[in-house]
């Protein structure tokens, strides 16, 4: 089988395995590393990592589907995760979501045809003091209103 990841990622997974008292612990960090490289975790990647760590591919698939951050298909270049939970909802999260849906022309859970944006709703991001908020890829953007959303979308190519 050809290796679905870069040699650096492969070596990183070896290092991870050696760094825990029990190699199984390396699975989550390995999946993070794969997703960082490829943007998502394919069936092929799951089989590969299962072989590396010494667990069944079905076990890896179970882990991947359990955690919401692991993507099983590609997402947009800018993956917009809008928080929907109560503290954000009290500060108008639903209106922000609706504004995003209108502006992007996609529904929640979809990606724009040019692959630039994807939009999902997520639960409390632990930043309710800046509600309403979204996370775009790794970064948070708080105190959202329609104007700020528009400016954000403009700045993201």
């Amino acid at each position: 089988m050809t290796m679905p990841v870069r040699p650096e990622t492969d070596r990183k997974i070896d290092d991870l395995k050696a760094s825990f008292p029990y190699p199984g612990s390396a699975l989550l960090p390995a999946l993070h590393a794969i997703q960082e490289e490829k943007g998502f975790i394919s069936t092929e990647s799951m089989e590969y990592v299962a072989g590396k760590i010494g667990v069944a591919p079905a076990f890896v698939a179970g882990v991947v589907s359990f955690y919401t951050m692991f993507q099983q298909k590609p997402v947009g270049r800018h993956h917009i995760q809008i928080c929907r939970t109560l503290p954000c909802a009290l500060r108008g999260a639903a209106a922000i979501r609706d504004h995003l849906v209108r502006r992007l022309g996609i529904r929640v859970g979809e990606t724009t045809p040019d692959g630039r944006f994807s939009l999902v709703e997520v639960e409390c991001l632990g930043t309710c003091d800046t509600a309403p908020i979204c996370q775009i890829n790794d970064e948070e953007h708080g105190h959202l209103d329609a104007a700020r959303v528009d400016a954000l979308l403009e700045s993201l190519r």
């Binding site: 199984g24 390396a26 359990f66 109560l86 503290p87 009290l90 639903a94 999902v120 632990g126």
Partner: protein
């Protein structure tokens, strides 16, 4: 007298996350003292005498938890730091991690010394990208200065700290789910007993503590148990506390006070009062989304563990969610039911099915399709979930359901008789993704 911050003493300083700022404000002095002067048992006794109770949700006495470890030393012992912070309305640990990681890290080293552990895992929720980066740098700095690694400060004590990132699952904040996740598995809570102190990570004795709890350990090491035990409402509610205020207030944020600050002082003085002058307070969740709600009439309460239990709720994670008169309680509860339905791990039938039922019933009430018996049905289903599940997640949804319905019963009934939400609260609608479970 104005309250002098202890946990947040550094956060306003530029570069507060660096070891130099930490050292300049007395950082790692407590560690020096303890390693030089005390044995692990002696320091454990100090933490007990300080009266420190866990800041992760249950308020369990920290020193007592540590003393549940087996007396034998035949297996390694682990400390797992709970930095999963996912309880809606909670954002205090994140502030400590990002702005004063060394206060937390020193507490980790001290706690590992007390429980005789040589390996700690820092389990941080996956969404905290920035926090994980900052904490990783803090750990590197501490290794470079000899506060971590072999023979710490010449004491002969060794410790390694490893950061472990979660990947998006609220349930991994539950301590045994956290252990499963750390072992590279799905985060399914374990049946207790055995308790983690006996059989924890990799089958070894393990202590799980919250980030803020560990930051408090640093303070105890710095200034002693007697000083610490004088803060707050001794003997059972001691020390400083971080309160997270969100919702309909002028200045949402993290506020530090001695345990037992009056809730109304927190809202009106610290958080700047209600967001809109013409919309008075309706209700407050005092301790994160899993806790029972307090109507405005019951908000003259002190924010400590025991006072909130007496008031019919709990301090929980100290996530104070403030709601004004514009809030629809059916909509608010539907929003939370959506959260719990999405986050249930699905192991126990009452939790998996119950959360689905709550969403279904509350959705039809909100849409004007509710039936008269739905109001009691909510209470009935909640009573079947509570106490019948593997982990306390069952209570975490049963308590809100039971308390919102009982406290605001007339509002729930009005949704039936008036065929929908009088406020038209579409803001709280549950999205398509909720209710899918894992």
């Amino acid at each position: 007298m104005a309250y002098e911050p202890l946990l947040l003493r550094n956060i306003a300083k530029p570069g507060s996350e660096t070891i130099d700022i930490s050292l300049a404000s007395g950082g790692y002095q407590g560690l020096r003292r303890v390693l030089k002067e005390l044995t692990p048992e002696k320091f454990l006794e100090e933490v007990k005498a300080a009266g420190l109770r866990g800041r992760g949700g249950a308020g369990f006495p920290t020193g007592m938890k540590w003393s549940f470890l087996p007396k034998t030393r035949d297996k390694p012992r682990y400390l797992c730091v709970n930095a999963d912070e996912s309880e809606p309305g909670t954002f205090k640990d994140r502030l400590l991690i990002e702005r004063d990681p060394h206060l937390v890290l020193e507490g980790i080293i001290l706690s590992c010394f007390a429980i005789e552990s040589r390996r700690a895992f820092f389990y941080i929720r996956g969404e905290f990208h920035k926090g994980a980066r900052i904490f990783a740098r803090a750990v590197e700095e501490a290794y470079a200065r000899g506060f971590l690694g072999k023979n710490i400060l010449g004491s002969g004590y060794d410790l390694e700290v490893t950061i472990y990132r979660g990947a998006g699952a609220y349930i991994c904040g539950e301590e045994t789910a956290l252990l499963e996740s750390l072992e590279g598995k799905r985060g399914l809570p374990r049946i207790k007993p055995p308790f983690p102190a006996i059989v924890g990570l990799y089958g070894c004795p393990t202590i799980i503590n919250n980030v803020e709890t560990l930051a408090n350990v640093t303070l105890i090491a710095e200034r002693g148990a007697a000083w610490y035990a004088g803060i707050g409402r001794p003997p059972k509610n001691t020390g400083p506390k971080l309160y997270c205020v969100s919702g309909h207030v002028k200045r949402p944020g993290v506020y530090e006070a001695a345990l037992g600050i009056p809730l109304m002082e927190l809202i009106n003085e610290r958080a700047g009062g209600m967001l809109h002058a013409d919309r008075p307070l309706k209700a407050v969740i005092p301790g994160g989304s899993s806790m029972r709600i307090l109507p405005a009439a019951k908000c003259d309460v002190l924010m400590d563990f025991d006072s909130l239990v007496a008031a019919g709720s709990m301090l929980g994670s100290a996530g104070v969610v403030v709601m004004d008169q514009s809030t629809c309680m059916v909509g608010a509860l539907l929003n939370l039911a959506g959260f719990y339905a999405h986050e249930s791990c699905g192991q126990c039938t009452p939790c998996r099915e119950g959360t689905g039922w709550f969403v279904k019933i509350l959705t039809r009430l909100e849409r004007g399709e509710g039936r008269a018996e739905d109001v009691d049905l909510l209470i009935d289903v909640a009573s079947r979930v509570e106490g019948n599940t593997i982990c306390p997640f069952g209570e975490a949804i049963a308590w809100p359901i039971d308390s919102y319905v009982k406290t605001f019963r007339a509002e729930f009934e009005a949704h039936v008789t008036r065929r929908g939400c009088p406020k038209g609260a579409a803001a709280f609608e549950v999205n398509a993704m909720s209710g899918t479970g894992h």
